[in-house]
Symmetry: C2
Subunit: 415 residues, 2 copies
């Protein structure tokens, strides 16, 4: 355990969320208040900003604007999708990172992101240890996908879940307004884990949600899907369906794959267009009115529907990262340790090894998915419902959101 | 002016909105309290419910649930898209409506909808006058499209506008998070009028909105559009675009037309898929990362972002309809009469002839669109901004919306 004195860098990585800036706020405000941290630097676009020597001096920001970060969706410092090479193969980036760390006397590095970001964090940590550069490195979890291991859930998930559940409840009301019958198919994010699609099941639980919910944890069968939709439509005159973008056939092929071409920076397939494709399929099979709706980016930036619980936990995760680092901890990710029992929901932070969190995907337990594979169980609701509680008192100007305005003053020297 | 005593029917028609149930609540609660109205009947799916003798006895509803109507999106009684024939050509429907009116001693008919619904209202009113059946008929305006004539604006518009502006502000934050550059194209409803797409300009005015906004009031030129996007992308590294689904070329062809096949019950082309089509076009022309997002049904049922002003005016319109009818007025639509000056925004109801409102479309004044045809002016903001003010204290259960639960007790006789 090394008690270091020096600058810190906070970086944001991967897809943005409604609350990732709450974690940044937690890191920045705790770091600014720490006697051991001499300078708080924000990396422009995550690790790419470190490599490019583009670092913002966070002490120059108006404290009132920093307070607004938690109500500001997306990554205020800028994000990136950048995968570091294996240092044994190519250590160019690592040498550059060390150079920047030395230039600014960086002794603390906080990286806020998902699986890939924890991998980045882990690699940098290992490299610094190898070259003997003392630096405490802590990962702060973030992902709407909720698929990081070692934590009860991930900051960002709950606000997206709340957006999805609320939107599905409203769509349910809208979609059954005519007596002529409609099938509405809602496409929800989640490449390999069904946590987000499962959140649509919260709307069903509340009595105004999808009749059918399909998660990527179980194989998708088009014939069974069409039979399910037909049955519900015939019984009720309408059908609202929620599907994860990641649903796939038994052979692993994404259902959306025919529409897929580009890939993101990490080599993942870019999914999308699934709702439209399934809508076409249902229309052809049943000849009824069908509409496909993709929640798209809206579900990850919908800060107006953020969960107060999520915002508080995101802030807490950032704060805990700094507290752990200044107390000498390194090479860990902050995780959320939660209990749900008769006394309610309780959450505190803990620390888990970065290696545990990096590059593994936590999925929805199969026992939380209905035997028919078209819905979630009460266990899922018991898990997710506490996370979406609480309404933020978000600041408004003219009834529109008032987001944080950062000056983003680039620093070029040690002064 | 005839002071009638008898039952009333309230029907909802056309596309639902976030606040159409607030108007229903205004009609129902005012009618239930009126000494002249002996019975309050809700038509299942608008005029189709009248034709089918499917009428709900609203007195049997729990008053507390009726209070929740204003927080419940979509048409709680059910809606329809049903165009009555010209009574001189085919009076079958009108004779049936008269039969039902006589069966229940209906002396008041309130119809809540847009242009087509006002036309329905007008035709029924003319028929009842022709056959000498005393019945006071008042239209209650409703349309997110905001294209009804004779009124400053239409209930439903402002809440959709607020949803669009807020969502665009969040998307703006999200869409510029990477340093690699993205073009995001948001498709907004509005078949022939650009009021909704213009609302995206409120986000721009607030400093976090589309760089470019295209309305159907001006001809769309693909070359100019691509040049606009290219210029903004080169200047800022990103580009957020808002387009109305109704944008069209100089010859009147909808830009989306290639993707269009089905039509709705009124013979309108069903638009959609425009965002994806424009995204493809930009991708092919510029080779950059592009994402198309369709706000789809979300924008018309987003009651969680409803405007308190809109909710109050929607209720007021329903209430005013009943008050006018019981005082002997018929053949009118309730309209909103508003002033915007140094003393603020003021709104009261007035009555306009149904003939004035029916089947004419009010468009955004060309002087409120920028000379380049890719944005809205301060005049538009001055018009729309007051309408979106105020946050409803919407009731929640487990942090999810608590919508009205109606019993919908069908009535079959006069008792």
């Amino acid at each position: 355990m090394e008690h270091l004195t020096g600058a810190c860098i906070i970086g944001q990585s991967g897809g943005p969320t409604a609350v990732i800036n709450a974690s940044a706020q937690g890191v920045i405000q705790t770091a600014l208040a720490s006697g051991q941290i001499t300078r708080v630097l924000g990396a422009a676009h995550g690790i790419k900003g470190v490599l490019a020597d583009q670092l913002y001096d966070m002490a120059q920001e108006d404290p009132a604007e920093l307070d607004l970060l938690q109500y500001t969706p997306s990554s205020a410092l800028g994000s990136c999708r950048y995968k570091l090479a294996d240092p044994d193969v190519d250590d160019t980036d690592y040498r550059r990172i060390l150079e920047i760390f030395q230039k600014y006397d960086v002794r603390y590095f906080f990286y806020n992101g998902g699986n890939d970001s924890m991998d980045t964090c882990n690699k940098i940590s290992k490299y610094m240890q190898k070259v003997g550069y003392p630096c405490n490195i802590i990962g702060v979890p973030k992902t709407i996908d909720n698929d990081l291991s070692g934590t009860d859930h991930c900051p960002g998930y709950a606000s997206a879940a709340k957006y999805i559940a609320t939107s599905c409840m409203e769509l349910y009301q809208d979609a059954r307004v005519y007596d002529t019958g409609t099938v509405v198919i809602v496409e929800i994010m989640g490449r390999h884990a069904g946590w987000l699609a499962g959140a649509a099941g919260l709307a069903s639980w509340a009595g105004s949600g999808p009749d059918l919910v399909y998660l990527p944890e179980v194989d998708f069968h088009m014939d069974q899907f069409l039979a399910d939709v037909k049955r519900v439509y015939e019984e009720t005159g309408n059908c609202l369906v929620a599907v994860s973008e990641g649903i796939h056939y038994a052979d692993g092929t994404f259902v959306s794959e025919a529409k897929t071409s580009a890939t993101d920076g990490f080599g993942h397939a870019q999914l999308g267009g699934l709702a439209a494709m399934l809508a076409d399929t249902v229309k052809n099979a049943m000849g009824v009115k069908v509409r496909g709706i993709e929640l798209s980016l809206l579900q990850r930036c919908g800060s107006h529907l953020a969960s107060r619980t999520d915002l508080d936990e995101a802030y807490l995760a950032g704060k805990a990262a700094v507290e752990a680092a200044v107390s000498g901890v390194t090479d860990k990710m902050v995780a959320l340790d939660c209990t749900r029992d008769d006394t309610g929901y309780h959450c505190q932070t803990k620390l888990v090894p970065l290696t545990e969190a990096a590059n593994t995907e936590r999925k929805v337990p199969l026992s939380w998915i209905t035997p028919e594979g078209n819905g979630v169980t009460e266990d899922f609701v018991r898990y997710a419902l506490p996370l979406i509680q609480g309404e933020p008192q978000r600041p408004l100007e003219n009834a529109l959101p008032r987001f944080a305005k950062l000056k983003k003053v680039l620093t070029t020297s040690m002064d």
